[in-house]
Amino acid sequence: MFSCSVRVAVMCALCTAVGAAATLPRMADGKPNFQGIWQVRGKAANDLAAEKGVVEGGAIPYQAWASAKKQENFKNRKTADPLGKCYFPGVPRIMYMEYPFQIFQTSDKVAITFEWSQVYRLIYTNGKPPLHDVVETWMGDSRGHWDGDSLVVDVTGHNNKTWFDLAGDFHSEELKLSERYTMTDSDTIQYQVTFTDPKVFTKTWKMSVALVRQKNKARLLEYQCEAEAEEASGDFERDPRTWYPKPGAPPSPLGPPAVMPQVAPLAAVKPGTNLRRTADGKPDLTGYYQSNAGGANYGLEKHGRDAFTPATRGVVIDPADATLPYQPWARAERINREEPYRGYDDPTAHCFVAGVPRSMYVPSPFQLLQPDGYVVLLFERMSWRIIPLDGRAHLPDNVRLWQGDSVGRWEGDTLVVDSTNFNGKTWLNEVGDVLSHAEKVTERFTPLDGDKFNYRATVTDPIVYTRPWTIEIPMNRQNEELLEVACHEDNGDLQNLKNVRDEYRAQHKKEK
């Protein structure tokens, strides 16, 4: 009787542990499947050591000088916190800020995309060392491996500029992290971090928080820290012709949008015949890409070169005359945007995200991933696009985003992506080809033989154009890894551009 109940008790304890492991969502390769939208439970981001149960032992083991420095940081936190300037939060801070993030998982990579300012992390789990020397960055270099059912990630290459929380907890460039992600049930990840930094701490220390699956969220939205700050301060000015109107705003100065004519469909691009394929039989487009954009970032229509601008071969394939079918007001605006004083108005000069399709052809690479149910694009200039393939409806019309809302599907071997819900704030390139919030885009990714795909984007924007138009750009897969671009953090040009604009405005006012 006695031995029997002991046996039952032991069996039950095992039963719980085995039961949790058995019911975890798993990938085809048997690894726990972390895919989903997650957010921290609790307020660790405010003050790691003050939040109960976060820091092992309760206190961060600072060296004496560092303890004094942390106190000084705390005192000055309202102005000294790098997050106040919308600088990248660094790791691990980004993991427990009170914003959701989405994890994507493939057999050799884990990507984490954050709602906060479109930051992402790309964690290589292929067991290979980095392709290039690891240099100091805001978000570090992440290399992962599996330890049983736990994902272990070594993060190195930190700069000395990020903090751990709002309370001024900090580190040096010698910081090394070991993160451990363990699913304790299908909706909870225990996120543990081991910190080593001989310059700042007396010993290695650990923290742990729970990340909770956000079952009520089907998508990440956007919180663009710097853009929102500059819009609020007036440093980035609203254009009532192109931006999505605020509730109760007066009607557009342009009157109603054009009725767009139907245009004849273009002859389809033929996919390659010798394509790499994923396990589900779809073309394998995964990889690091550089566009062969022929200067599209300096004008979509054909143009010559000058001292600063490369010639553009012209990427417009429809209409047949290769010119953009502008409405007169928009052509005038496009020409005006070439004036030096308008350079400040280009959102990418502010390091804001480039929008669609510009993100695809800025002179900077991107990584394409095909995790279960999605295509994910990570742009080196720190932004992302998440393209679900489940046929879901677009977001409600009043939700407006820099990168829009994309839904994709396969048509044979071509990936077709429809995007809507744009905010109308982006430009198509540096010379200022125009878009508005009425923009809708259909993109076609057609894989070709030999590490290439053909990219087409058909843009329909009845506020700006008289008919839909299409661009075509080849994309080349390369054996490379993304590096970090801390554009806003290192933006030495914006003030110069602002000065040019302000001088023009002062002059113009005088002349009046």
């Binding site: 240099v135 001292a307 030096p340 000069a349 200039r381 590096l483 801390a486 040009d493 551009l497």
Partner: protein, 132 residues
Amino acid sequence: MGIRKLGAIPVMAMLMAGGVAAHHSFTAEFDQNKPVKLTGKVTEMKFSNPHSWIYLDVDTNGKVVNWALETGSANALIRRGWKRTDLPPGTVLVVDGWQARNGSATANVSSVTFTDGKRLFAGSSNEAAPTK
């Protein structure tokens, strides 16, 4: 030392004169009617994205002015095997470029050569541009 090593890499030759913009309009910031040719000593190489900056002490009629010279992105340089320490302070460079519209000691770089005529990288960094 780093310089000799760099000089030995032939593809470093690079993006031809007529550098191209990367994340903002160079036409808006710089004046193509104000070409400059500067010889001076490196005081700092700021390795950053989308543009790196070389700071150069230039002696103009006995007066030393520190110029800020905008060049290619750190990531493009890293991908070509560059290191942050490869352009130490004191290195003498000859730089061609275009001055800022406001006339300040700021320029956009079209080419950089060492005193022996070997070219460094150039260009205001269209990372996508062919490096032939």
